[in-house]
Amino acid sequence: MQDPSRRPDLDQQATAESYMLPSAQPVQLVDPDGRHVHNDKYPLPDGEALLAAYRELVVGRRVNDQANALVRQGRMAVYPSSHGQEACQVAAAVCIDKQDWLFPTYRDTVAVLARGVDPIQALTLLRGDWHSGYDPYEHNVSIQATPLATQLLHAVGVAHAAKLKGENTVVVAMCGDGATSEGDFHEALNFAAVFHVPVVFFVQNNQYAISVPLHHQTVAPSLAHKAIGYGMPGERVDGNDLAALLSVLGKAVERARDGGGPALVEAHTYRMQSHTNADDATRYRKDDEVQQWVSKDPIQRMRTYLTDLNLLDEEVEKNIAEKAETVAAAMRDGLNAESEVDPEDLFRYVFTEKTSQLLEQAAKLRDELAREPA
């Protein structure tokens, strides 16, 4: 085990000005018109990497559309869509390696899928079958957390354990702008910095926490500025720019892996749809505002950019669309099939060994079900 207090990389000369402050504007490498924007600090990812991520972007949009449709058809209980935020979703999943960990929230289904989790397993929660249908250890993806910011501390714990065990693991911990007001956000960033663990905190600032706009959450210059208070660098990035996200997150992940400690990345994006299907966004925001973000769509600009690079043509687009349709069809088939739930499961996993109280209650339920007319 390593000594957690050892910080060989600690830059004694570091000041808020020298490396902790975020850029004056969110980092952008490809503008909404699909043109490259030069940045001294962040190189543009190579075309092939962008094309691979673009593929996931298109699939992610299709997943959001399909999930919304399945909710309307009554096949899922609820779906918090990440429509408009797909670039953040994809970047969070692809910026880390296989042995690394992802800690997603309830809105991050697309990131979970981009990490390789089976869609039907991932959607058991929102379908109402079971709280988490996938094995977190299969793809190193934690359960999709519902209580806000609490999972950030679990991410710190996973990273700390990895560090103590001498494992080369980086953890990406996701949350939204609303979660930055929670106490656990503060505790997680502080613990991560004090224990100097490899966690990249990735805030998708989609401007709203259900109905509450960002200016009711904070009057900090930006969410990325909060990093300074914990002694870690903060950066902000155009959350609809896949290239910038990959570059900024990639750099933070690389720094964490090299022993540089945690970092905070804030992505400026927008939740194009309501909080969930149970919400009505027209009650708290104007359509004009939503329309301004249509032209900033993450897919359109990357399509233009990759087309200009000659990496994307009709045939490649067609292949990508087919892949997206395959995923959507699998979602439809899986969720349209009747799922079997086992009432005995209610008692099976509460403890490793059922208590006598649970054995008694399970037996009663079994009797009750046996008496019910078929």
Partner: protein, 330 residues
């Protein structure tokens, strides 16, 4: 060879023995490092095992609990200290929403073998926020194993068992017992684990059963000794493990005696004591000669030091309750 140990030293020895036996056991919390904890339960562990195995954290209980969850997810066995009962409340969301639920929500894929040590209850003249009996909150939360040792031997064996347990354990340490002493044959106890879910008969008797746990067991034993002088034979059950609860041992005793009093320091309303009364009456109704009574703390916030003597279940109050058990000769 027998050794005289305090309750506190027994806990300290249990931690050291498990840390020695299993390199994945890590201890952390507030002041548990070089200081050894405000009650010295972690005394010497940092010096012996290094500061990666026993370390201080920032002063934030939710942070401690949340980080422990992640460490348990990633193959370690964290033992965290909440400095005092009432200081554990900032961690409550992590305990209720994640510690208790994570194994269930993942169908057992994620196990959380972690121990939450909480110095709890009163009787030490502590000021406010230092004397709460918070067991009902945890016992009411499905997924938590909740235990409270009442003897020095149980302090040692039950903490070792808690650390080896595959599920999260809330380990309640009665503060007023920290300085109590017993002679233990430590060598013979090293492997004696596997007793969660089992209550013990702490004193045999035939006229009525006193049911207690944690700090109230010694009060119950004192009451039984006093009752014996008056010719009444009281059996004392040490519950030990609140969740899982040993219905069998408790019910067997009450069926034998036909009368029972449940004793606990916590306010009685909606409490573990209430639950025990309900369970006894469900199981022993036809054996009961009188309603099952409770001697608990009043339904008030824990009082100031000069007032706690009027609040805590006392021998007299227990004997009064026993007198109220509808004796035929009364």
């Amino acid at each position: 060879m027998s050794t005289t140990l305090t309750f506190a030293k027994a806990l300290n020895t249990a931690l050291a023995d498990e840390m020695e036996a299993d390199s994945t056991v890590v201890v952390f919390g507030e002041d548990v490092g070089p200081l050894g904890g405000v009650f010295r339960i972690t005394d010497g562990l940092t010096a012996r095992f290094g500061e990666e195995r026993c370390f201080d954290t920032p002063l934030a209980e939710s942070g401690i609990m949340g980080m422990a969850i992640g460490m348990a997810m990633n193959g370690l066995r964290p033992v965290v200290e909440m400095q005092f009962d009432a200081f554990a409340y900032p961690a409550f969301e992590q305990v209720v929403s994640h510690v208790a639920k994570m194994p269930n929500r993942t169908k057992g894929k994620v196990k959380l073998p972690m121990v939450i040590r909480i110095p709890y209850a009163g009787g030490i003249g502590g000021v406010e926020h230092h004397c709460d009996s918070s067991e009902s909150y945890y016992a009411h939360t499905p997924g938590l194993t909740v235990v409270a040792p009442a003897t020095v031997q149980d302090a040692y064996t039950m903490l070792r068992e808690a650390i080896r347990h595959p599920d999260p354990v809330v380990f309640l340490e009665p503060k007023k017992l920290y300085w109590s002493k017993e002679d233990l044959e430590l060598e013979s106890l090293r492997e004696s684990v596997g007793s969660f879910g089992r209550a013990v008969v702490a004193r045999e008797g035939s006229d009525a059963t006193l049911i207690a746990y944690g700090p109230s067991v010694s009060t119950a034993l004192n009451a039984a000794a006093a009752a014996a002088e008056e010719g009444r034979s009281l059996e004392v059950i040490d519950v030990r493990s609140i969740v899982p609860f040993d219905d069998e041992t408790v019910a067997a005793s009450v069926r034998k005696t036909g009368r029972a009093v449940v004793i606990a320091e916590a306010p009685g309303f909606a409490s573990v004591a209430s639950e025990i009364v309900a369970r006894v009456q469900e199981r022993c109704f036809h054996s009961l000669a009188a309603p099952v009574l409770r001697v608990t703390g009043f339904d008030i916030p824990y009082p100031a030091p000069k007032l706690e003597q009027f609040y805590l279940p006392s021998v007299d109050r227990i004997l009064d309750a026993v007198d109220d058990l509808q004796w035929e000769d009364a």
